[in-house]
Symmetry: C2
Subunit: 165 residues, 2 copies
């Protein structure tokens, strides 16, 4: 899959008359090396481990490029920084549940949901392009027991804790 991403980015780059660079390659690898959500700063740190000479500015610029190319999506988790989600290539229509207790993010897909929003959108006179559902919820495990080690969530993908300023 990683390879396919590179290919699709190359295509995009060629199409727009842009250029392949070492930095972009490193950054793309870092972005798609995990299925975790991340912030620009976190990505910057991850990139720095591999390639010491890559600037924050280039990370930001490349993120913009990936989003424009449709390979990466910005999502809103309710905090002050933009979160990036690399999983839309695999699951183009997934949505997010955020645990208010621990901040864990659970991705889920639901076919009915897509149909429903398509319906609503057309009824209003529009053509649906994309949708984002964010559910905020509390963890049942936490209420019943002490902690929030939600097993289901652990099995699913996104599981990053986030701090509000």
């Amino acid at each position: 899959m990683n390879g396919s991403v590179q290919a699709r980015l190359d295509e995009f780059i060629r199409h727009k008359g842009l250029r392949r660079t070492a930095q972009r390659e490193v950054i793309v690898k870092a972005v798609f090396s995990k299925d975790e959500h991340f912030s620009a700063e976190e990505l910057f740190e991850r990139v720095r481990m591999t390639c010491a000479n890559t600037s924050r500015a280039t990370v930001y610029r490349t993120l913009g490029l990936l989003v424009e190319a449709g390979l990466l999506r910005e999502i809103d988790l309710g905090d002050d920084q933009t979160t990036y989600d690399p999983n839309f290539l695999d699951k183009p229509t997934h949505n997010h549940l955020v645990c208010i207790d621990c901040g864990r993010v659970v991705e889920f897909e639901d076919a009915q949901l897509g149909e429903l929003t398509a319906c609503v959108t057309q009824r209003l006179g529009f053509k649906p392009i994309r949708q984002a559902l964010k559910i905020e919820a509390t963890c049942e495990q936490l209420r019943n027991h002490g902690r929030c080690p939600n097993l289901i969530a652990a099995r699913l993908s996104g599981k990053r804790l986030r701090k509000k300023r």
Copy 2:
């Protein structure tokens, strides 16, 4: 309705051992005088028309208070500033469609949607607290004719244009 908001805020203020002030009253009036979405800056300007001596800081602080009291909701419209939505008292479960062409925001309610997300949430082992669905779409009118004076949208509420930086 405006009166009821003041009453609910007073209750909240008393409960928390806070104080009623002229500024808070002015700001609350400005917030709930229209059903339009707004940014902190826009509200600040609106408040300034009535009451010249109210600072931006107080506007921000009061917005925080209203959100905490559950009278006002922050929503994400995809731009860089927080948008506030005063319509959740009347329509506690409404969601938003954003027209990509013109930035217009249309509010809509859908009972099925609520049931569906409640279902999904429980299936994942959580207790739903709140949800936010944002649909991004293009205007059919625009594609067929020249402009985007979508009649349906005009009839519904939120209709503020927003600028990306």
